[in-house]
C-alpha cells in the first residue's frame, strides 16, 4: 500500500507528458530547431518554480511526510562526465525523440515500437556499467 502514492504520481507524470505533447518526436525536433517556445516554456516553468520551492525548503528546513528533513546531495564535481555523457544522451534524445520517462509513456499510449527503444536504453545502461571504469569521469 505504501507504493500507491508513487503509482498515482507516476500516472500524473505520464498524463502530463502526453497532454503537454513533450513525449512527441515532433516536439523534440521543434525544440532543437528553436522553432517554438513550447518545450522551453514547459521546462522553464518547472525549473523556475523548482528553484523557488527548493530554496524555500532549504530556508525553512521543511520536513517530508515522515518527519525527516528534506535533504539535497551535491553531485560530484566534474566536467567531463557531464559533458560527454550529456552529449551522448542528447544525440539519442534527438534521434529517438524521447528521454527515458516519455519512452514508457509512449508505450502506454500504444506506440509499441518504443519498447525497442526502451530495451536498448536498458542495454545502453548495462554497457555503461561494464566499461565505466575505463571512461573519463
Amino acid at each position: 500500500m505504501k507504493f500507491i502514492k508513487f503509482l498515482v504520481l507516476g500516472t500524473m507524470f505520464g498524463i502530463v507528458m502526453a497532454k503537454s505533447e513533450a513525449f512527441s518526436w515532433f516536439r523534440i525536433q521543434e525544440m532543437f530547431r528553436f522553432q517554438a517556445f513550447h518545450m522551453y516554456g514547459i521546462i522553464g516553468t518547472a525549473v523556475i518554480l523548482g528553484v523557488i520551492g527548493v530554496s524555500l525548503i532549504k530556508k525553512y528546513k521543511i520536513r517530508d511526510f515522515s518527519g525527516n528533513p528534506i535533504s539535497f546531495f551535491p553531485k560530484e564535481k566534474s566536467v567531463l562526465r557531464y559533458l560527454i555523457g550529456g552529449t551522448i544522451f542528447g544525440l539519442g534524445w534527438a534521434l529517438s525523440g524521447a528521454c527515458p520517462g516519455p519512452m514508457v509513456v509512449n508505450i502506454g499510449y500504444g506506440y509499441l515500437s518504443m519498447i525497442v527503444v526502451f530495451v536498448f536504453a536498458i542495454i545502453g545502461t548495462y554497457v555503461y556499467g561494464i566499461i565505466k571504469d575505463k571512461l573519463p569521469h
Binding site: 502514492k5 508513487f6 503509482l7 507516476g10 500516472t11 500524473m12 507524470f13 505520464g14 498524463i15 502530463v16 502526453a18 513525449f23 512527441s24 525536433q29 521543434e30 517554438a36 518545450m39 516554456g41 514547459i42 516553468t45 518547472a46 525549473v47 518554480l49 523548482g50 528553484v51 527548493v54 564535481k77 566534474s78 557531464y82 555523457g85 550529456g86 552529449t87 544522451f89 542528447g90 544525440l91 539519442g92 534527438a94 534521434l95 529517438s96 524521447a98 528521454c99 527515458p100 520517462g101 514508457v104 509513456v105 509512449n106 502506454g108 499510449y109 500504444g110 506506440y111 525497442v116 527503444v117 536498458i122 542495454i123 545502453g124 545502461t125 555503461y128 556499467g129 561494464i130 571512461l135
Partner: protein
Amino acid sequence: MLEYISQPWSWWVSGIIISGTMFLLLFFGQSFGFSSNLRTICSAAGGGKFVKFFDFNWRSQIWNLVFLIGAILGGFIAKQFLSTGEPILISEATISDLATLGISAPTSVQPNELFSMEALFSLKGFLILALGGLMVGFGSRYAGGCTSGHAISGLSDLQLPSLIAVIGFFIGGLLMTFVLLPLIL
C-alpha cells in the same frame, strides 16, 4: 470538463504539474530522476552478479519502478480517455524542415516514418530506434541523470554539474538534428 482537459495542455500548466511531481516526490522522501530505473532494472535482472555497478540493493528503488508503471498507465489513460485524436500542431517551419528530411507532417503524435510497425521491421528503422535507445541509456548513466534528474531536479537545486549536463544534452541534440539526421534519414 473532460472535453476541456482533452485538449493539449498549455506549457505553463504542464510546467506547474511537472514541478509539482518533483515536490511531491521530495515530500514522500524520494527524488525525481527517471533514468535511475534503467540501472535498477539491470540490477533486478541479476546484472550485479556480473557487473559491480549493478550490485546494490535495488529493492530500495521499487518506489521508482512503481512510478514507471504509473507513467505507462498515464500514457494509456491519456490515449483512451483524454485524447481528441488530433495531430500535434507543430510550427510550420519545423514541418517544412522535416519535409526535406522525408518526414511528413504530423498525423498523430509520432512520425510514421520512424515509429510505425513497417519502420520497426525494416533494418534501417530498427537500427535507428536501437541506436537512439542505446545512446539515451548509456549517456544518461554516464552523465548521472536524464532530463528529470538534471534539467528539472538538478537545475532546481542550482547544481553546476546539472547545468553542464544540460549543455551536453543540447550539444548532442543539435549535432544530431543539424548534422547527423540529414545523413541518417
